[in-house]
Symmetry: C2
Subunit: 331 residues, 2 copies
């Protein structure tokens, strides 16, 4: 799926800033394509963008209204329908990362059809993929993998892409999740494809390319997460990464959403991911460690990174605190 | 999904015996629920069942017409529509394992609705699952895993269930693929669920049970298959098997469908599967090796099994040649 830019960011009646996490991520990485925000009464989130009416946003060139807000259950709130209908009437496409589908709301479906606008439910891929074939493709690929979910894999990928482009390298971020897709303007929500096609969809997303081109593929889940490991291993096999970056959040007491399930050690996690990756790319190797030190005391973060470098013989960074240059230097 | 029995097996205009592989598997394992076969002109497959008209099958008590035939592309042939419509008019449910959906054929959809019959597309699960939670459930579970696809995982599971029941043990085969679902009359085609829900669907399929009850879960794919490993690891995590059985076909020169991709060694495959299984069941262990020796010279098969037993210290069987008793003795 592919989205027209620039975006008008719709926050609805978001309960708090966290409910607008997706939208915040898009603005953080692609402020240039987010020209304004539209909020309803009672909205408690703020992206720091100019407030815009639908009309003002159209005049400023906005093409897609992005529903960048999550609410309980991932539903499309009834309070939003009226303004979403008016957005379609004004010529917007609407893109949503919610679990429930825009296209299943009759008013939206009918209005979009009447005005020739698109409703893009990025969690629901309708494209049919082939099963993965495991054949080696030209071009290089890097994939962040994690000890757990939500340990900075997307952030690390985007920081690496930014730094590569700054160095004049040939690189493309490949989005595999909803926030990533809004940021890239295209991609595949790999956790939403049919199970048989996880690696095939990933092969399609990261096609043959110039020998010096790097796909920086957004990682998902963890091989050690009992809910999502299927997505993670299919993504690894399909991406056939030359380089892996291990991502970790050191203050977490258990796997996200799984009380009582401990995190794997960094060394076990590197070993398991290298083994999985070597099935489709025998040269695959972990080239660095990316830590989210946000919850650590500030003094101890740098000490911790130094200790990891010593222990694993790999550059260890926090993309926010130290940047990712050291990892690129190790490619 | 759950199917009404007994079945009338529909072979259509199957090109050869191989095209009726699914139907043959059902008859092999559950001849008592297959009361007849219905073949069109030009059908080159034969299940050895009595030929029956729709009327004769209804009178004999048949409840579901099983489309147990595969053709190129997994499509519903136009040549079949007429008789499928008449089956619905006669009161049959129709169950199909084809890729294309019965429910997408307007004539079938309308006729089924008019007569209150069900169209059951077993490859297309419409049930919504929760994501896996990894929590240990009561009851015991056994899962065959493979060095590759199509190395006898379903056959091994069914042979183990049969032997357990013969010993008076408390056991249930849990189907995860199309032939298995026809055989069990229920199950989930796990390769057809959305990627995020592979382990969750498997947890649902193998629920908490009596402490002495064994779920014998149909395995899928291989951790070493670049197309399908996502399904395999999700199934392992969701099934939380106490016991693994390693399945292998020793004459295969490459992974099925992947020219040039070698099979893993049995020892690597046991290690990787035990490691994956121990995430949700720390006591998980491989308890035996099941070999499809069908393509080996008859003298060498038993020798090969003896060599494996010696090398791995595990019982090694061919379910067809030797039966699976030795594996049960090792539980």
């Amino acid at each position: 799926m592919s989205l027209k830019t620039p975006y008008l960011m719709f926050l609805g009646d978001a309960a708090d800033q966290l409910a607008a996490k997706t939208a915040s991520g898009v603005v953080h990485w692609r402020s240039e394509i987010c020209i304004g925000q539209l909020r309803l009464k009672g909205c408690n989130a703020d992206l720091g963008l100019p407030e815009m009416t639908l009309e003002a946003a159209v005049n400023a060139g906005a093409k897609t209204l992005v529903v960048g807000v999550a609410n309980r259950g991932g539903l499309i709130s009834k309070l939003w329908i009226d303004i979403l209908v008016r957005a379609l009437e004004a010529g917007f496409d609407i893109a949503s990362g919610l679990h429930s589908k825009l296209a299943d709301v009759p008013d939206l479906h009918e209005t979009a059809a009447r005005h020739g606008c698109k409703l893009i439910d990025i969690r629901h891929s309708e494209r049919l993929f082939e099963v993965g074939n495991g054949k080696k493709r030209r071009g290089k690929r890097l994939l962040p993998v994690g000890t757990d979910c939500s340990v900075g894999k997307m952030y690390t990928a985007l920081a690496l892409e930014r730094e590569m482009l700054a160095r004049g390298m040939n690189a493309t971020f490949r989005a595999t999740g909803q926030t990533g897709i809004f940021i890239a303007g295209e991609g595949i929500s790999v956790d939403a494809v049919v199970a048989d096609f996880i690696s095939g969809a990933t092969e399609w997303l990261t096609p043959e390319n110039e020998p010096d081109h790097w796909d920086i593929v957004e990682g998902q889940g963890s091989l050690f997460h009992a809910s999502y490991a299927g997505v993670s291993i299919g993504l690894i096999h399909g991406a056939q990464p030359d380089a892996l970056v291990l991502c970790h959040e050191p203050t977490r007491s258990h796997m996200r959403g799984l009380l009582g399930q401990a995190l794997p050690s960094i060394s076990d996690c590197i070993a398991a991911n290298e083994m999985a990756a070597q099935l489709t790319n025998p040269k695959s190797k972990c080239v660095g460690i990316s830590i989210d030190t946000h919850h650590m005391a500030s003094g101890s973060a740098l000490e911790y990174l130094a200790r990891l470098e010593n222990e694993y013989g790999l550059p260890a960074v926090d993309p926010v605190l130290t940047g990712v240059e050291k990892i690129l230097d190790n490619l």
